[in-house]
């Protein structure tokens, strides 16, 4: 094999393409084909894309980076976002009694509450909700307040940023129905006895 590869031109039998002389490696030959045009254009287009992208995002900075995107997204959501202040309860409220509301309450319960209070409300990390004791009061109003605002220092998170007022009414009403159900494996009573 010579450095300058000066051998007569050979052609590939099947395709008629020109073989490069001197390019033979363990019987592998190489053809002298040009770069496919579409491939070259693909490469050029991606390079142009890159230049424009960097120019727009990082030189003249007219396209939004992630912080701006976030601000815009939050602004757009502004009116849709819930306002926790609207969550006001009063002591005269009574638990919902219709089955549809209680079923909706159970669905919320199953999704969100059982990780601490267990499936039947017998308590594990959170208190037993089926016995006749309560840490923060026994009334419907007390339970609504606890669920809406939480007791963060005890590990009960506030739900008013995750549930609507209607949902809180539903799940609280459902929770009230658990009282006196005597499920198996209950957690020992906590708090004060209810009257």
């Amino acid at each position: 094999m010579e450095i300058n590869d000066k051998n007569p031109v050979e052609k590939d039998e099947l395709t008629g393409d020109k073989l490069l002389s001197g390019h033979e490696y363990d019987n592998i030959r190489e053809l002298d084909n040009r770069l496919p045009k579409w491939w070259v254009w693909l490469f050029i287009i991606t390079i142009i894309y890159a230049v424009i992208y960097l120019f727009v995002f990082d030189v003249i900075k007219i396209a939004p980076h992630q912080e701006t995107e976030y601000t815009n997204e939050m602004a757009a959501a502004g009116s849709a976002a819930p306002s926790p202040q609207a969550m006001v309860f009063d002591t005269t409220m009574m638990p919902l009694a219709d089955q549809a509301a209680l079923d909706a309450g159970k669905a919320i319960w199953d999704k969100n509450c059982i990780v601490c209070h267990k499936a039947l409300g017998q308590g594990l990390v959170g208190p037993n909700l089926t016995d006749n004791f309560a840490i923060h009061g026994c009334r419907y109003f007390d339970l609504l307040t606890v669920i809406a605002n939480g007791v963060p220092e005890k590990g009960m998170i506030s739900w008013k940023t995750q549930l609507t007022k209607d949902q809180i009414l539903q799940v609280t009403s459902f929770t009230m129905t658990l009282k006196g159900t005597n499920p198996p494996d209950p957690k020992a009573p906590q708090g004060d006895p209810c009257k």
């Binding site: 094999m1 010579e2 450095i3 590869d5 590939d12 099947l14 395709t15 393409d17 073989l19 490069l20 001197g22 490696y25 363990d26 019987n27 592998i28 030959r29 190489e30 053809l31 002298d32 084909n33 040009r34 770069l35 496919p36 491939w39 693909l42 490469f43 991606t46 894309y49 890159a50 992208y53 960097l54 995002f57 990082d58 992630q66 912080e67 976030y70 601000t71 997204e73 939050m74 959501a77 849709a80 976002a81 819930p82 999704k111 969100n112 059982i114 990780v115 601490c116 499936a119 594990l124 990390v125 963060p152 220092e153 005890k154 590990g155 998170i157 506030s158 940023t161 995750q162 609507t164």
Partner: protein
């Protein structure tokens, strides 16, 4: 000129082939077990050594470095000798390369099972094994370059360019990403912290894909495909252009693993654009491969070797188009943290690497055993089952990824998250996970058929350990460029110069991206309220790393309404400055944990919840796929390492007061007793010296400092 006779070493090739098959099965069976744990978490068996977080690195490392790695060595040791018309440089080095690599694999599997890990994806090996990897890798390079230097051919073929780039770049990546300070024999702290660590890690991680799974396999394609098809390479020029473009551009693209993270925006932009520019250079390899088959497509119909190659090259083309798409912000918002990435990775690993490895095996084993393949029909069956397996593996994950993304994002008309409980979005995917397992099982079935076929081939053959060949010695010519000699043609007969140019090409991107993060302080704005971890939290964090929690949980909230609504404020660069290593994670099979300790946050759980959750997650929610971690409750925390850990952290710039190492354990016990007392008040008896106490301390610290910095997110982190 007189012909010299010499012998090719086929024995090393054979050993690598056997190791490829063996580790392939091991790595994939572990993968299948992992996939089943998504459906039945009890398949963790309640012991640390088989729990997801510890065996996931075994699976990824076994497939990448053991299966694909041995396959790569097999292919290179066979082709390099023939392309250089020379036996390997040194039989002893070949032996060290082979046995050293197997030793590394065994050591990796054992240490991962025991929880010795750096917690950096695909670079989990602890420091003694990192050193061993470096030594064996240098032995491989030495052996290869020695062979190239004593070659009997004037020029080095394109396959060898790719082999050289592989050797050089993997060496650079491995060393740069493994600079760690030992604590004990199997525990170290990486010198980089937080955002810097993330950038170095994904510069490594991305380019491990590029230079361990891609360039060597392009080299193999350039040798075995024209050999098997008996056709000339389509275009020498395309080889040159796509080779240099590929290695130069690849190294810049690492930040695409960190889109929408706390990484500075300019670095993210580079990650995006360099990934997009990679489409053509990557496709250059596919095009050159497929066009080489022009005139030989009738052979593809007949020959299983070519079938495997065509699907491999096509899978390569698919994933190198998909990759750049996933690097754009729009697609990344969907694909990142979901199983899309896992699907993408498996198109590459099962399709490109796995099928090319088997193409090479089916081609090479009959040759070194001087026989024909036992059964073409069986190889064809393997081909179809394997192809079906890939489809069944990937499609459900893509489907699942989009499902989960939509569920994460959905808001109710009232403005609440539709699925506030993360678990719902996981439970929804269970059928997809099951389908994925079937795909994986199909693929493994194909491999078993392949192994059976190869065993019978080997039995019917006669191994040729020393294959005689002859070629004239290379006559020395001037090193200078001859008149009329193209610059690249000149470089092809100067392998050392070639390697130096390649080294320069791959260093540019890394240096431009990584160095400014060290030199320019504004890249990582500090946050005054972010303080070092307490000794107990630090020990807890090391348990978090040990158990591989990052394999399912991220610590990186993206700046999306759906994420800040779910977790709390989005991630800031300044909150990770004491994290050695960073633990941002790359997928979410469980929720993000970086705001876990914020008492007023939506993710908050009391100490007793964490205790019960680690003891038995399914007791808290029957649907949960979290594994049991009951040994954290049984095992005592090893506090003998605390002083050394504090000193190393101080060395790395973490501002603990002078002499703190001596009192650190007192501080640790004080905090542990508080947590123990709190558990006691909840009716849980847990001594303060248990590992779970440290783990709880760490989890309850997550997000606390950044939260106390206030919620005016934008003002904290004015990253440009």
């Amino acid at each position: 000129m007189e012909n010299q006779t010499f012998y090719y070493d086929n024995k090393t090739v054979k050993l690598f082939a056997y190791a490829t098959l063996f580790w392939g099965v091991v790595g994939m069976v572990v993968g299948l077990l992992l996939s089943l744990q998504f459906i039945w978490p009890q398949l963790s068996f309640g012991i640390p050594y088989t729990t997801f977080g510890r065996i996931r690195p075994i699976h990824t490392n076994a497939v990448i470095f053991a299966f694909v790695g041995n396959g790569m060595f097999m292919g290179i040791y066979y082709s390099l000798q023939r392309l250089c018309k020379a036996r390997m440089f040194s039989d002893i080095l070949s032996k060290i390369n082979f046995w050293g690599w197997q030793l590394i694999i065994v050591a990796a599997a054992l240490t991962f099972a025991f929880g010795f890990t750096t917690g950096k994806e695909y670079a989990e090996l602890e420091w003694p094994i990192d050193l061993l990897v470096a030594v064996v890798w240098i032995v491989f390079g030495w052996n290869m370059i020695g062979t190239i230097i004593k070659r009997r051919t004037r020029h080095i073929y394109v396959a060898i360019w790719f082999y050289l780039a592989t050797f050089i770049t993997v060496a650079v990546l491995h060393v740069a990403n493994s600079i760690e300070i030992p604590i004990t024999l199997f525990k170290s702290y990486i010198v980089y912290a937080g955002v810097q660590d993330a950038l170095v890690q994904w510069w490594y991680g991305h380019n491990a894909v590029a230079f361990f799974l891609t360039t060597p396999f392009l080299g193999l394609m350039y040798y075995y495909l024209p050999k098997a098809a008996n056709r000339p390479i389509y275009s020498y020029r395309l080889s040159i252009v796509h080779f240099w473009a590929l290695i130069f551009l690849y190294i810049w693209a690492g930040p695409h693993h960190l889109i929408y993270s706390a990484l500075p925006n300019w670095t993210q932009s580079l990650g995006v654009v360099f990934s997009v520019m990679l489409i053509a250079p990557s496709w250059g390899g596919m095009v050159n491969g497929l066009l080489t088959l022009r005139g030989a497509w009738d052979k593809v119909r007949e020959d299983p070797v070519l079938k495997f190659m065509v699907v491999a090259v096509t899978a390569y083309g698919m994933s190198t188009f998909e990759g750049p798409m996933m690097s754009t912000k729009t697609v990344n918002a969907i694909s990142h943290f979901t199983d899309w990435t896992v699907g993408h990775a498996h198109i590459g690993a099962l399709g490109w690497n796995g099928f090319l490895v088997f193409a090479v095996l089916y081609w090479l084993i009959p040759r070194i055993f001087q026989t024909n393949l036992y059964s073409k029909k069986l190889a064809n069956t393997h081909f179809w089952i394997g192809t079906l397996g890939i489809v069944f593996y990937a499609v459900p994950l893509y489907w699942g990824a989009i499902t989960q993304f939509l569920m994460w994002k959905e808001f109710t008309p009232e403005g609440f998250l539709k699925y506030p409980n993360f678990l719902e979005t996981v439970t929804q995917l269970k059928p997809m996970y099951a389908a994925r397992s079937i795909g994986g099982a199909l693929y493994i079935t194909g491999i078993v058929l392949g192994i059976y076929n190869l065993i019978l081939t080997i039995r019917g053959g006669n191994f040729l350990a020393e294959e005689a060949a002859s070629a004239p010695a290379l006559v020395a010519v001037s090193g200078k460029r001859a008149s009329g000699e193209g610059a690249h043609r000149w470089l092809e007969r100067r392998p050392i110069q070639f390697s130096i140019v390649a080294l320069i090409a791959i260093l540019i991107g890394g240096i431009i991206e990584i160095v400014p993060l060290y030199l320019v302080k504004t890249n990582i704005p500090s946050i005054a309220s972010v303080k070092p971890y307490t000794p107990l939290e630090l020990q807890g964090r090391d348990i978090y790393v040990r158990e591989g929690c990052y394999t399912c949980h991220s610590q990186q909230v993206r700046p999306f309404r759906s994420e800040t609504e779910r977790y709390g404020q989005y991630a800031k660069a300044g909150e990770y400055v004491y994290d050695h290593p960073f633990q941002w994670g790359s997928k979410r099979n469980g929720p993000d944990l970086s705001r876990e300790g914020v008492v007023s946050g939506k993710q908050y759980k009391p100490n007793s919840w964490h205790y019960n959750h680690m003891l038995n997650p399914q007791k808290l929610n029957a649907q949960s796929i979290m594994p049991v971690y009951k040994w954290l409750i049984a095992d005592d925390l090893d506090i003998s390492t605390t002083p050394r850990k504090i000193r190393v952290m101080q060395m790395l710039g973490v501002p603990y007061p002078a002499g703190f190492d001596l009192t650190a354990n007192d501080d640790l016990m004080r905090q542990a007793e508080l947590i123990s007392a709190d558990l006691k008040s909840q009716g849980i008896d847990c001594a303060p010296n248990k590992e779970i106490i440290a783990m709880i301390a760490y989890l309850q610290r997550l997000g606390v400092d950044i939260h106390s910095a206030g919620l005016s997110a934008a003002s904290v982190n004015p990253v440009k």
